[in-house]
Amino acid sequence: MKGHVYFLLAILLLGIASIYLALQISAFIPTYQFKAQLLPVVFGIVLVILSVVGLVVELKKKAAKETKAPKEVTTIIIAAAWLIGFVVLIFLIGFVLAALLFGGAYFKLHNRGWIGSIAFGLVMGIFTYVVFDLLLGVDLYQGVIYIPFYRFLP
């Protein structure tokens, strides 16, 4: 219940923020300004009303104990951290190397052997390059850190 209350508060703040930001929109022609502001203000007001209704309902409920096990919360945070970490790694060293490292590291840290993890990482890296870059022509990002490895890829 507590988590849901915070979520509704976030929605409420979002609604208020959208009304405020919408009223800051300016355009040269008054009718244009009205058109640009109309829906953000309307949706913002609706969100505020709905989130207040939701908060009232939620707070009226008898306070039930949060039953989420600590282990479950930790697992969720770790899974999210893996995904965000993967994106950060891509930003730093590019898709191919990030896929290689991410795949291998994930496998190793989930109780797999070194050989299997390295092999899996290599497969991920090669798969990424061959399928997306060569076959689909996606032109994958190579990262902000200059790595000579990419110069040797066809």
């Binding site: 988590g3 849901h4 979520f7 929605i11 979002l14 959208s18 930001l21 919408a22 929109i25 300016s26 355009a27 022609i29 244009y32 300004q33 058109k35 640009a36 829906l39 953000p40 949706f43 913002g44 609706v46 969100l47 709905l50 989130s51 209704v53 939701g54 309902v57 479950e72 697992t75 969720i76 770790i78 899974a79 999210a80 893996w82 995904l83 965000i84 993967f86 994106v87 891509i90 930003f91 898709f95 896929a99 991410f102 795949g103 994930y106 496998f107 989930h110 797999r112 899996f120 991920m124 798969f127 990424t128 997306f132 689909l136 996606v138 032109d139 994958l140 990002y141």
Partner: protein, 501 residues
């Protein structure tokens, strides 16, 4: 004209590139459908980034080839392992798994897959039968009516699929609000861009869809690990499959009734297969000579929901193609597919691209039937897919999601949008909000605003008083307030009766 478009639609699929992709796409749909808890929605989501730039006559049937067999495949794990492949398979395990425990797993599988295949075909036939009426209705609908339909679609998807009206509306309005980021179409005024050039074009569709649907599923997968755990695959399941196939013909009237229910429910925006299966199961129980046996493992309890959930697919295609308002959460993603390939479903779709519209019905029938045949022939091997560990799946699917989000526009900032959408999708899912309503609001927000201003310009505020618009908006108000209306009406009725005494 309809017959010609129907034939042309079929001929669109008899091309080398379609025939080459048919089998791999169907197998992909089966594999994803069998993985417990993932389902056709995820299968289509993963394909969306890669259809950009493809010919619509290839890309859209591809999406249907993938989504149609996933429902049938999900019934395998529901029957044999007591784990539904997706939400629309939930009712199948009520009698399917008890049948397996009684040693009739093969019979249940045969009945489930045959019902699915035939239910899908019935749904397509019904859609064809209704298509002429739909084409007439579409011509009557002008801009104000289509705008009202968009309101109905978003409200229904948010409200009818969930218990809480408030949560459904919050989801839909949140999606609409997020869709406003960027430069306003009519005026060019920048909204919620914070001076960032990246946001001038608004948030890209693919990273948002992938973030909302795919990332929370990955987190759930990490949480649950291997869903099948130590559940053993029963032996000898291939034995009685033919008996199950014959059961569907023995109970042909139940099958037809359930398919009709699935089609009807699917055609109403926002409800989808998840509701149709329980309505169908309920009617099967009520009309059975032995209702007390339902839940103990009888074949009727498998035939009813499986017929409904596949017929629903044909029904849900109709409002999606005809009005651009999805009939189900899965159709929301098909709508996204339309937009990615540059087609706008709605009133013009049936007049200018009728062949593509009919090709989707053909694709639904073919994909569903082929998927069922493959599952029937390779039952044991197909179910083994459900045992693949999350340690393999999570990195591979995570990679596909991230590359997919990047491949759309080649902007690294889209990965930031992906993460933000993922966080939003996780919390929406966690607290019981409709992600489909959010995505629908996000997709339709542009058209919502465009049609609103067009209707205002053409008719003034009086467009709200047009008969069809009034009926549709009244329907939304009724659905939102139905609980209160019913309670109030009951009180009034009791009051009147009391006064008469």
């Amino acid at each position: 004209m309809i017959f010609e478009a129907f034939i042309q639609g079929g001929l669109l699929l008899v091309r080398p590139e379609i025939l080459l992709i048919l089998l791999p796409a169907t197998i992909y749909g089966i594999v994803i459908g069998i993985l417990p808890g993932i389902g056709g929605l995820f299968a289509v989501t993963m394909l969306l980034p890669f259809i950009y730039g493809l010919d619509p006559k290839f890309a859209l049937p591809l999406l249907v080839f993938v989504s149609a067999p996933s429902l049938s495949a999900g019934s395998l794990t529901a029957v044999l392992l007591n784990i539904p492949g997706d939400a629309p398979n939930a009712a199948t395990l009520l009698d399917g798994y008890p049948m397996t425990k009684k040693g009739q797993g093969g019979r249940a599988v045969g009945a489930a897959l045959t019902s699915s295949a035939m239910g899908g075909l019935v749904g397509v036939v019904l859609a064809l039968a209704v298509m002429p009426a739909l084409m007439v209705m579409v011509k009557v609908m002008k801009t104000p009516e289509v705008w009202a339909l968009i309101v109905v679609g978003i409200a229904f998807v948010g409200i009818l699929g969930r218990r809480s009206v408030n949560k459904g509306l919050i989801s839909g309005v949140l999606g609409l609000l997020i869709s406003l980021i960027g430069c306003q179409a009519n005026t060019g005024a920048a909204r919620f861009t914070f001076g960032s050039a990246f946001l001038y074009d608004g948030l890209a569709l693919i990273p948002v869809v992938l973030g909302i649907f795919a990332l929370p599923e990955l987190i759930e997968m990490a949480k649950t690990g291997s869903v099948t755990g130590k559940t053993k695959l029963p032996k000898g399941i291939e034995r009685d499959v033919m008996e199950g196939i014959k059961d569907v013909f023995r109970h042909y009237w139940l099958h037809i009734r359930s398919s009709l229910i699935g089609f009807g429910v699917g055609a109403i925006p926002g409800i989808g297969a998840g509701t149709s299966i329980f309505v169908s199961y309920g009617q099967a129980m009520k009309t059975s000579k032995h209702p007390e046996l339902f839940g103990t493992g009888i074949v009727e309890g498998v035939i009813a929901p499986e017929s409904a959930n596949n017929a629903c697919h044909g029904g849900a295609l109709l409002p999606t193609i005809g009005f651009g308002v999805p009939g189900s959460a899965g159709m929301t993603l098909l709508l996204a597919g339309f937009m990615i390939v540059g087609l706008v479903p709605g009133p013009t779709m049936l007049s200018e691209h009728a062949d593509i519209a009919f090709s989707l019905l053909w694709a639904s029938a073919i994909g569903n039937t082929l998927g069922c045949l493959i599952c029937l022939v390779f039952i044991r091997h197909a179910v083994k897919i459900a045992y693949v560990s999350a340690d393999y799946l999570l990195p591979i699917i995570g990679l596909l999601v991230v590359v997919g989000a990047f491949a759309y526009n080649h902007y690294m900032m889209d990965l930031g949008v992906l993460i933000a959408a993922g966080v939003t999708g996780y919390f929406l899912n966690r607290f019981g909000y409709s992600r489909a309503a959010f995505i629908l609001g996000f997709i339709l927000g542009y058209r919502f605003e465009k049609y609103l201003f067009t209707a205002l310009a053409a008719y003034g505020p009086a467009f709200l008083l047009r008969p069809i618009v009034l009926v549709l908006l009244a329907l939304v108000v009724y659905v939102i307030a139905s609980k209160q209306i019913n309670v109030g009406a009951a009180k009034l009725f009791r009051l009147v009766r009391g006064e008469q005494r």
